[in-house]
């Protein structure tokens, strides 16, 4: 680039700030894109705002669900002449501008992105990726790993949510009846062998094939009753991360009734997805009727979603308003139709946890794994469990079983 004139220099600078805003709001905007955008704006020329909008749009947006975020960011950034000063203020930790009020209407992520400068107290001078962990030292992250979701501050929750969004569940793959070619296969691939035989002069080189493997479907049932309210938010983020990591994931939430939220969570943008899910669910933070909800699941959904070797994950504290009425029968059916049934219970965090509640006693004999789920560490451990044991294999602390029996 040649030395730009004064005016052009400012535009380039503004585009850079704009790109930084987009990036911290989660759009994948790399430095290359910024350079492209600057030259694109130069090509188009600085004229109508609409031209600028679509020029930048063409550079920074590459997926449908990014449009709204871009739209908001654009209007906030380019329509408001003072926003630049604000941004600068936000970037420089010494000048802190009261900005909450005006930013009220903005997307939560955008707001967070705009205030991130003052929040972290660290201005990014180069174009490295802005990520949550840039603002936390290693040891702080370690502490957060162990911290109970219930005891987290708003800020820590935000960081934990970010960490959850990067979480992956490496569920052990299952062999299918399909084959793929492989050097060290288990069967002879006749088609490939014959073709090779025709090519080679004297010998018939054996070509082998091996069964393809594929991930089994994952079905998650999350308790959103009052006793779980601190945790269910986190688990919604968890379910969103899982839904977008793999296909064939079905998510349900239950309190007094069962709601299928798989379709809402398919939206890539976590805020939009959770907002939509929130609108679709009517029984937030109410009572729990686990038995009735599982019955509904068994009767209407299990035959549709628990196919092809599905793994079921129940996230609940097992505290049931109906005192475990009818729960036993439904749990039995559920465990018979799942390849593996895993129960995540936040209550298990207490050293002295004992399966006293009737709901817990009814459920426990039927689950294959019984795991704590109250902090980041336990979720990461869950990944290890799922990755290592592919089939039904009870993993419940034995003294619980004795107590139940």
């Amino acid at each position: 680039m040649q030395a730009p004139s004064d005016n052009q220099g400012r535009i380039a600078e503004n585009i850079m700030y704009f790109a930084r805003l987009l990036r911290s709001a989660g759009l994948p905007v790399g430095p290359g894109k910024v350079l492209d955008a600057i030259s694109a704006v130069r090509l188009v020329g600085i004229g109508a705002q609409e031209d600028l909008y679509w020029t930048l749009f063409s550079q920074f947006v590459n997926r449908k669900d990014q449009r709204e975020l871009f739209n908001q960011a654009f209007h906030i950034f380019w329509r408001n002449p003072h926003i630049m000063e604000r941004m600068m203020g936000a970037m420089l930790p010494t000048i802190k501008v009261e900005q909450e009020q005006e930013l009220e209407e903005m997307s939560r992520r955008l707001t967070e992105a705009m205030s991130s400068g003052s929040f972290s107290g660290k201005a990014e001078t180069d174009s490295s990726k802005v990520e949550f962990d840039a603002s936390f030292t290693f040891s702080e992250k370690e502490v957060l790993q162990e911290k109970d979701f219930e005891k987290m501050s708003a800020e820590e929750i935000a960081v934990a949510k970010q960490a959850i969004s990067h979480l992956r569940l490496p569920i052990a793959d299952l062999p299918t009846r399909r084959f793929k070619r492989a050097e060290k296969g288990v069967q002879i691939d006749m088609r490939a062998t014959l073709r090779a035989a025709l090519r080679s002069p004297d010998i018939v080189p054996l070509k082998l094939k091996t069964p393809k493997r594929r991930r089994p479907p994952l079905v998650m049932l999350c308790d959103i009753s009052g006793s779980m309210s601190q945790y269910s938010r986190m688990f919604l983020h968890f379910m969103h991360a899982m839904t977008n990591d793999r296909y064939r994931v079905h998510c349900f939430v239950f309190g007094t009734r069962l709601t299928n939220i798989s379709r809402y969570l398919k939206h890539r943008d976590v805020d939009v997805a959770l907002d939509k899910a929130a609108l679709g669910v009517k029984d937030w933070s109410g009572g729990t009727r686990i038995g009735a909800c599982l019955k509904e699941f068994n009767n209407f959904w299990s035959r549709r979603v628990l196919t092809q070797g599905a793994i079921t994950l129940i996230i609940s504290d097992g505290l049931d308003r109906d005192e475990g009425d009818g729960l036993k029968k439904e749990m039995e059916r559920l465990t018979k139709s799942s390849r593996r049934l895993i129960w995540l219970n936040p209550l298990l965090r207490f050293e002295s946890f004992e399966p006293k509640a009737k709901g817990i006693r009814a459920m426990l004999p039927y689950v294959d794994d019984f795991k704590a789920a109250h902090n980041l560490k336990s979720l990461v451990e869950l990944a290890d469990v799922l990755g290592s044991q592919p089939s039904k294999q009870a993993d419940i602390p034995t003294h619980f079983i004795e107590q139940v029996a």
Binding site: R177, R178, F179, L194, N299, R304, R333
Partner: protein
């Protein structure tokens, strides 16, 4: 002798009833449209409501060959579309070599020709017969997996199959395609979009009675009325699996075999296994619940 396709909905209904299939008008309409427009018919519904039967009836009524592809998880091209006859190919290669003439290029095109091809259902259906295109039944599509579904897209939209060694085989006349699904999972929109969709519901009492009488002509009329009314009431109960039409027919057959002319509690309890297939459901209905339903049925029939 190939029979002509029906020209209107009434013809379609007549065609089906000629083969003892009692259809309601909505199904006949969709079927008529599918035949006229040359589009696949996508039938979804609970197990045992007569989805598969439609294809069989259609092939019988139209005098067309029925090609059936039963889907299962991991169904692949080798068992659904075509496979090479490897042993014949090997023998051919050995023979050619023994004769001394080794023209690799010629040999390659020889052994990968249609003589060595084993046709599986989809390819058979596209090839067609002299007496008109066949009826292709793709049964329980929900049992297979997404990759196979995607493969079907080409076949269902263009009615052609590409075999790398030979080329593209296109149907002269597209087959009549019936796809069924029990909805154990959702079929992708892309596939549904190419088909005409119909949800096959449980029949109402009147239609179910017609079906029983059509399939079991010798049945006592009082018995058939009672058992149909009983099954209809059973479907209103909170069951894990409600009985389908196939179960009604099984039960009717079972009762006729037992020489019954009317329902009674004992008989119901002893033959409930023909209707209900889950132990939970059976233990719920057997005994007092069944007796109560029977009382209601008798009352209802007495009032008519």
């Amino acid at each position: 002798m190939p029979l002509v396709l029906p020209n209107n909905i009434d013809d379609t209904l007549a065609l089906l009833s000629q083969e003892d299939y009692v259809a309601d008008r909505s199904l006949a309409t969709t079927l008529f449209l599918a035949l006229k427009m040359g589009r696949p018919l996508f039938l979804e519904g609970e197990a045992g409501v007569g989805k598969t039967e439609i294809a069989k009836v259609l092939s019988a009524a139209l005098g067309r060959r029925l090609v059936r592809l039963q889907c299962y998880e991991g169904l692949d091209i080798a068992s659904a579309v075509y496979e090479w006859n490897y042993s014949r190919q090997m023998i051919e290669i050995r023979l050619t070599e023994a004769a001394g003439a080794v023209d690799k290029q010629g040999l390659s095109s020889d052994v990968f020709s249609s003589d060595f091809l084993i046709e599986r259902p989809l390819l058979q259906a596209l090839r067609g017969e002299e007496d008109g295109p066949s009826v292709l039944l793709i049964d329980e599509l929900d049992r297979t997996d997404e990759p196979f579904e995607a493969y079907l897209l080409e076949i269902l939209s263009d009615f052609q199959i590409t075999i790398p060694e030979i080329g593209t085989i296109k149907a002269k006349q597209p087959p009549i395609v019936i796809i069924t699904s029990n909805r154990t999972r959702e079929i992708h929109d892309a596939l549904k979009r190419r088909c005409l969709y119909h949800w096959v519901d449980y029949p109402n009492a009147e239609r179910e009675l017609q079906i029983v009488n059509a399939k079991l002509p010798g049945i006592d009329s009082k018995l058939s009325q009672q058992l149909v009314a009983f099954v209809q009431r059973l479907r209103d109960q909170d069951l894990f699996k409600s009985p389908g039409v196939a179960e009604t027919l099984d039960w009717a057959d079972a009762l006729t075999q037992l020489d019954k002319v009317a329902l009674d509690s004992d008989t119901i309890d002893n033959t409930l296994g023909a209707l209900l297939k889950y132990q939970d459901d059976i233990s719920r209905i057997r005994g007092s619940e069944a007796a109560q339903l029977l009382e209601q049925v008798k009352l209802e029939l007495a009032n008519v």
